[in-house]
């Protein structure tokens, strides 16, 4: 159909994609690129926000070059994707270019072959003075062996395992499905992968997956007398709107599967946050307790009444830091290291006495507090750690698995099944039987001889060499 030399653009494109050379080259280039991409971690997998710095710092000049050449973002680079897409197109076109003619020729194959053709088959047997009944007998025997029989006057075609001839195209189909599955994450809402950090009783809505995740309690346990973590677990709840729709006690490696989305216990913030506490006020002179008060570290009161004294909270630094340049400031809005500055008024105090309370930094407090008339100390503390949950959705994964299964099936067809055909022709009282297979001649010879035995024929031997050229030849 392709007249050489007079091809138009589309024919040229078609032939290019249909070329086995092109297909194999694409596969090799993709394989090499994928291998290079796995030498160092990809940008999305490095534990540092600045890749320019990270690759140089961690892997030296080679790492810097690796990043500069774009290998650190290989799998999302446009040229890698172009290669994969070209391979996809090539697979489709090759399948059409070769598969369709094969299908047509097998569908339209004649039952009656010329005797001269049958004679030249590698497996051939013949019987003189044969009758139509013997052709019928052959048909019955072959039918029992699960051959599909087609008959014409004085001719027979028995065929088994035609579909495995298309094994290669089944592999192609599987690979195309895999490629589609990988790209399926582009469909909005099909792919999401992100960490969610939740404080105690905090909930966050993730619009990409359409629900809200709530931390209904996080437990963290250490091995006794060590700082090695024994376990960390979250009671997670899922809400759609205001309605709770799922919940699970999450432990590591046992995710909540909700709405095709997996919620994993992934990590936690090792630094605890203050939640609330009961503080005690002690008169330094008498060492007697004046009274106690409750502090909510997320939303402290403006004043606290303790015994006859009034404690006015002048300033509150949830995450106190002290710095020579910046002075006293808060490093975040979370109560990791609270610092409370009180003005105390009451009996025996001529003017308001200002004093710091720093439950997380007792040394600083002690240093500053030599002159303080009171000691302010936390008697009871409720703290919590922030939990880190991984929310992962990839609806393309089942498609990828399906593609893999189809590919495997194709390989099984290619390697373990054969297309066996037997032709018989009754001409001038002589029965000619020829046979052909696409592989496993050894097995086919045995079957052929079993089939012709009841006709009083055989056993015949295979014409030509059984061994392939690539296999070592026996020395004579």
């Amino acid at each position: 159909m392709n007249k050489k030399g007079k091809r138009n653009l589309f024919e040229w494109i078609w032939d290019w994609f249909a070329s086995v050379k092109v297909g194999v080259s694409l596969i090799v280039i993709i394989a090499i690129a994928a291998a290079i991409g796995s030498i160092y971690p990809q940008v999305n997998a490095i534990p540092h926000p600045n890749p320019d710095f990270y690759y140089k710092d961690k892997y030296g000049n080679l790492g810097a070059l690796y990043h500069k050449l774009g290998f650190s973002e290989m799998y999302i680079s446009w040229w890698f994707l172009v290669l994969v897409l070209l391979l996809g197109i090539s697979l489709v076109i090759v399948s059409i270019d070769r598969g369709v003619p094969l299908y047509k020729s097998l569908k339209n194959q004649p039952v009656a072959r010329k005797v001269i053709g049958i004679r030249s088959d590698r497996l051939y047997a013949h019987k003189s003075e044969a009758q139509t009944s013997e052709l019928d007998q052959l048909g019955t025997i072959l039918q029992k062996r699960r051959y599909k029989i087609r008959r014409e006057d004085g001719a027979l075609l028995a065929e088994k395992g035609r579909f495995p001839r298309f094994g290669a195209y089944v592999i192609h189909l599987g690979l195309i499905i895999v490629i589609l599955g990988v790209f399926a994450r582009l469909v909005p809402g099909w792919y999401y992968d992100s960490m969610v950090w939740l404080k105690e009783d905090e909930s966050k809505t993730i619009p990409e997956v359409g629900f809200t995740v709530k931390n209904a309690g996080f437990t963290l346990e250490y091995y006794e007398n060590t700082d090695r973590v024994k376990k960390f677990e979250t009671d997670v709840q899922v809400f759609e709107g205001d309605k709770q729709t799922a919940q699970k006690h999450l432990i590591v490696n046992d995710p909540l599967d909700y709405n095709n989305t997996l919620i994993f216990q992934n990590s936690f913030d090792p630094q605890p946050m203050y939640k609330s506490g009961k503080a005690v006020m002690i008169d330094k002179k008498t060492q007697s307790e004046v009274g106690t008060f409750e502090i909510d570290f997320n939303n402290p009161e403006e004043t606290y009444a303790v015994g006859p004294y009034t404690l006015k909270l002048d300033n509150y630094f949830p995450d106190l830091k002290v710095d020579a340049e910046q002075g006293i400031y808060t490093n975040s809005r979370d109560a990791y290291n609270p610092g409370l500055l009180f003005s105390i008024t009451g009996p025996g105090l001529e003017q308001a006495s200002q004093q710091w309370m720093m439950p997380g930094a007792p040394f600083v407090e002690e240093m500053l507090g030599k002159e303080y008339p009171f000691t302010l100390r936390l008697k009871e503390l409720e703290a919590f750690n922030m939990t880190g949950l991984l929310v992962h959705r990839d609806l393309g994964i089942p498609i990828v698995y399906t593609g893999c299964a189809v590919t495997m099936w194709g390989f099984v067809l290619v390697f373990y099944f054969q297309h066996r055909r037997i032709w018989a022709r009754l001409e001038d009282g002589e029965l000619h039987i020829g046979a052909n297979t696409n592989k496993n001649w050894l097995g086919f010879v045995k079957e052929f001889n079993k089939v012709i035995e009841p006709l009083g024929l055989g056993p015949v031997e295979l014409k030509g060499k059984l061994l392939k050229k690539s296999e070592p030849q026996p020395t004579e």
């Binding site: 024919e11 446009w78 402290p300 909270l313």
Partner: protein, 179 residues
């Protein structure tokens, strides 16, 4: 027959190439995270927030004044850096018709009040407890971010960096002079 086959091949090639191009385009736009930000020249979105003193402030009530809307937090070092300049500008141009609104993101009243006292801030401090104004309405990503709104309530300038006094002065002056 040959003609027909040729046409179906052309169609196949075109469909496959179009699909590949579509996928490639989808990948490119997928990796390019959409950045939504405020644009200059649009009407500044209206809002009402409570101040530290318990009053309530509505942006649209301030028409006729030039408004400097500063989104900040006490834990943000560059915010602390620019605060004196903002206060200085407020003192200098208050009488000429400048209003400064400090929108604090998600902090407790004591911390904010302590900060305002420390920096001797006299302009109204608005408490944006759930970041509805700063993040949802004004799409602020880095803080500090400052919005300059003219007398007609139109957004004229956006500064997402710690501002110097000179910068504020140079930005505010022409807005104050405009009729």
């Amino acid at each position: 027959m040959a003609k027909k086959t040729g046409l179906s091949r052309i169609i196949t090639i075109l469909v496959l190439l179009a699909a590949a191009a579509g996928i490639l385009y989808a990948v490119v736009s997928f990796n390019k995270q959409e950045v939504v930000e405020m644009k200059k020249g649009v009407a500044a979105p209206d809002f009402t927030l409570e101040t530290l003193d318990g009053k309530s402030v509505t942006l649209s009530d301030l028409k006729g004044k030039v408004v400097l809307l500063n989104v900040w937090a006490t834990w943000c070092a560059p915010c602390r850096e620019e605060m004196p300049a903002i206060q200085q500008a407020y003192d200098a141009y208050k009488d000429a018709g400048l209003e400064v609104l400090g929108v604090n993101l998600r902090e407790n009243n004591i911390t904010v009040k302590g900060f305002a006292n420390e920096f001797k801030l006299t302009f109204p401090i608005l408490l944006d407890k759930e970041a509805k104004v700063g993040v949802d309405l004004y799409k602020v990503v880095p803080i500090p971010t400052s919005f300059f709104i003219d007398k007609d309530g139109v957004l004229r300038e956006i500064a997402s960096f710690p501002m110097s006094y000179e910068y504020i002065e140079n930005t505010v002056k022409p807005l104050l002079q405009a009729q």
